[in-house]
Symmetry: C2
Subunit: 205 residues, 2 copies
DNA sequence: TGCGTGACCATAATACAAAATGGTCACTCG
DNA sequence: CGAGTGACCATTTTGTATTATGGTCACGCA
């Protein structure tokens, strides 16, 4: 697992510091096990053998820690999704795999890492940067796939690129955004298949 | 406004009875003004000059009353949507209008009738029959439009009909289901336009 | 007989005091 | 000077005693 705190939330003090990593490590464990709400900043402090006040030399707030943990987890998912599509030459197949991997990763998070899922949901509902970056990354991936597909003549080229990409993203969003995903979990796998097909039909040259 | 208690929830006693109508009338007023939660069954009873116990001669539960109020309101929306598409000959245009009317009605409900919107959201989250019937009706409308479009040669005919319809419905659902709509309200109008276009591209012969 | 109800119960909502938590800061110590 | 902290405060959260509410039923009365 890489470091991947992509959009660097509100930090304090030196950006690479052993104690910061210790905090993140402890938070990953505690937030994942007991949940964001049930974990107190003092818990984290105690876990690394410092006082609560010292935590605040490194993070602006408890939420800032939550954002890092959330970002990290979403980075892992992004890596999984990226991996699922790399090496696949055909754009249509890449789009299918992207959607599938996305839904699988989201479902997994929900069913096997519920506490972290809840943080992601909070992140989405309170517009933390974490989920925003996640969505942007995926939007960029869609753009990439559509662009490639167009170049290879697999997709039509009449519709304005940004409109196409945006519309496709809108179709996927209910299965990307944690706040929406939870209401689409039953049949999410089928939905991914059917919607992929619909999108691809709309992209046919 | 018509009667329209379409899927007749758990009733008691004679299905047409003046007192039943009075209850529904009072509930429409109270639920709409103070919300479902803040309205007590005694409030309704007092409003029509009977005792609380008498209400239960006509309805199985408070929720059953809520379902009727919710169904009625959703029936109004369905009527609006139906009206928006009737008389339009071209299937593509009908689909556009359907989506647009749907989003407008939903947004209106949210912004101008918030208390009733909340009931609809509850209905969706607890799977009352009301929202279920609403979704079914709209799914049927999509089927109708696609079928017509196919017959007129406006839409492709290769993809299995039910798959097409289901996929289209899945695209629209986040703007239909109240539980999902609330997270899509900003840009809902644009989304409806762009997604209509995407759907129509996917339907192109 | 059938419309209508007061009294009753289990559970849910509310109110509110007490405890816990997020966050700050002046300060210590090496 | 900089790593590290105890004491402190405003705001939430929690536990709980109390009230309100959904729902039933045996009964009254025309």
């Amino acid at each position: 697992m890489m470091k991947a705190h992509t959009p660097a939330p509100q930090l304090r003090g030196p950006s690479d510091h052993d104690v910061r990593d210790q905090i993140v490590e402890a938070a990953t464990k505690y937030f994942g096990r007991y949940g964001y709400g049930k974990t107190t900043v003092s818990d984290l402090a105690k876990a690394i053998g410092f006082s609560k006040a010292y935590i605040y030399k490194f993070f602006d707030s408890k939420q800032a820690i939550g954002e890092v943990i959330c970002s990290n987890r979403l980075s892992t998912i992004m890596a999984t999704v990226d991996e699922a599509v790399t090496g696949v030459p055909a754009a249509p197949e890449r789009l299918r795999r992207m959607f599938k991997a996305l839904v699988e990763a989201g479902s997994y998070l929900f069913f096997h890492d519920r506490k972290l899922y809840d943080i992601a949901a909070t992140s989405a509902s309170e517009s933390w940067p974490s989920v925003g970056a996640y969505e942007e990354h995926l939007k960029a991936l869609v753009l990439q796939i559509v662009r490639d597909g167009r170049e290879l003549g697999e997709f039509e080229r009449k519709t304005p690129l940004d409109e196409t990409v945006n519309a496709i993203y809108l179709v996927m969003r209910p299965y990307i955004n944690p706040l929406l995903l939870q209401h689409n979990l039953d049949n999410a796998a089928d939905a991914a298949t059917q919607l992929s097909s619909l999108i691809l039909r709309s992209l046919a040259p």
